[in-house]
């Protein structure tokens, strides 16, 4: 039997996300998907779901949800209080909610984003083989946007898979992100090159799935050469003329026109999904052993 989720409150930004739609960047469509794919995978593991299943991704404050039918769920990722009908339940662990039960995911105390998986398929529209919500182009998810009070999300039948638990992820702060020089690294002044790995940065309040503007020392550019539009990939430390790094994230534009000073290595990209405004960030050069 199918069921539904009734959204009592959406939190700061709750969207449907799966591993994303790879291979469409040449059409201007970012891969998107879960900002912390490790946490999504563990949420699906708890439900016995396939790794590609969609879940709800919440940001800084979780949603409050009423279940219309018996449904198993698990919450992973950012550290927060999880209450089922007023009783605290454990993260990284499957629980069964009865029809009419209310799940309240509270304010995130550590990290930025968490995932709620279900033992039922989230029924919503897909594009490019993915249900991931891309807010800027209104693709995927529930009407291509974040969930708000009053939304009803249809769920498919229960999978019948056994629910279990998963090893919790450790979200460590300050964030230490390993980087490699970007295509325009040589345009940085010697001082900027030093500061990149010697200075402390932090994410400004202007942080979303598209990118994080970083607060830190201004990094100077040696050459004021004209930049012509070129591909932009997630994890890029872009350097506009103002000298403040903009770190591109999972939903970033597919092309850009700023200096690409450096890029976070693929192994550390999932960490960028847990950066919250104010969180300290250090960059360090990746070594051969890191890759």
């Amino acid at each position: 039997m199918s069921a539904a989720l009734k959204i009592i409150s959406g939190g700061v930004q709750t969207t449907v996300q799966d591993p994303g739609r790879a291979g469409l960047r040449h059409m201007g469509v970012p891969a998107g998907g879960a900002a912390d794919p490790r946490a999504l995978m563990r949420a699906n593991d708890c439900m016995g779901n396939q790794a590609g299943a969609a879940a709800l991704e919440f940001t800084l404050t979780g949603p409050h949800i009423r279940f219309s039918g018996d449904t198993a769920f698990a919450v992973t990722g950012a550290v927060c209080d999880i209450m089922l009908d007023g009783r605290r339940v454990a993260p990284y662990q499957g629980h069964v909610a009865k029809a009419g039960s209310v799940l309240e995911v509270g304010a995130v105390m550590h990290g930025a984003r968490g995932y709620i998986s279900f033992d039922r398929e989230i029924m919503c529209r897909a594009f490019g083989g993915s249900k991931s919500t891309h807010i800027y182009s209104a693709l995927g998810g529930h009407e291509g946007r974040a969930l708000i009070k009053g939304d009803g999300i249809a769920l498919g039948p229960r999978s019948g898979a056994a629910i279990s638990s998963a090893e919790p992820l450790r979200i460590t702060t300050p964030h230490v992100l390993r980087i490699l020089p970007g295509p325009e690294y040589d345009r940085l002044t010697d001082k900027a090159k030093t500061l990149l790995t010697m200075a402390r940065f932090s994410a400004s309040p202007q942080t979303d799935r598209m990118g994080a503007r970083l607060i830190g020392p201004k990094l100077g550019l040696r050459l004021r050469q004209h930049m012509i539009s070129s591909a932009l990939l997630p994890g890029t430390l872009q350097l506009p003329a103002g000298g403040q790094i903009v770190l591109s994230l999972v939903d970033s534009h597919c092309t850009g026109g700023y200096v690409r000073a450096a890029r976070v290595i693929t192994r550390d990209l999932p960490l960028t999904g847990q950066i919250r405004p104010g969180a300290p960030i250090w960059f360090r050069w990746a070594t051969e052993a890191d890759l």
Partner: protein, 218 residues
Amino acid sequence: MSAYSLQSYGDDALLIEFQDDQSGSLTGYVQSLRACGLFSDVIPAYRSITVQFDPKISRETDVRAAITAALAHPVNVTAGPIIKVPVYYSGPDLTAAAKMLGLSRQALIKAHSAPVYDVAFLGFLPGFTFLSGLPRALSLPRHDTPRIRVGAGSVGIAGDQTGIYALPSPGGWQILGRTPWRLFRPEASEPFRFRAGDRLAFTPITKSEYGALSEHDE
């Protein structure tokens, strides 16, 4: 083959930058790179192609060798027919842009709709169409402060590039007009109206023609 440089862009991507302006002629390289089967994405831009690979499967040295081989033998691409794109030239920046260029509105419309443009690449947001072939005399600076919202189908100029907004978004381009066509239809089996390598020309239309042809909601 034209000269190019090859550099790393993180541990899962390589950036190929061509020395000279390759306007419209990257498609053959893009196709031969795709044919390698090594890349999850091959992303052309005006003067570059970025390829993404899986570092767990391919080593960068092997990828570099494959790129060198692919670029030595670009696919021979035959140019398609010229797509006539209707544009109602009445954009919010048309008058100011004509003044900046020292042209009448009519002369600007004529000059912008005269060339055959190549779709250089799609980028920014889904379906945003970057064209090459803008006459140098029509170069215009971006707005210092981007508009909060530019409508879908807006045709504009920024620097020496011209292009079409596929979706409503913030934007800093000088907007000359609007095409009634929807360039990105996610619900359709062919969601993208154009792809890199297409050739197109703008046909000025009247307000009533725009109204009759409009595929936009607003």
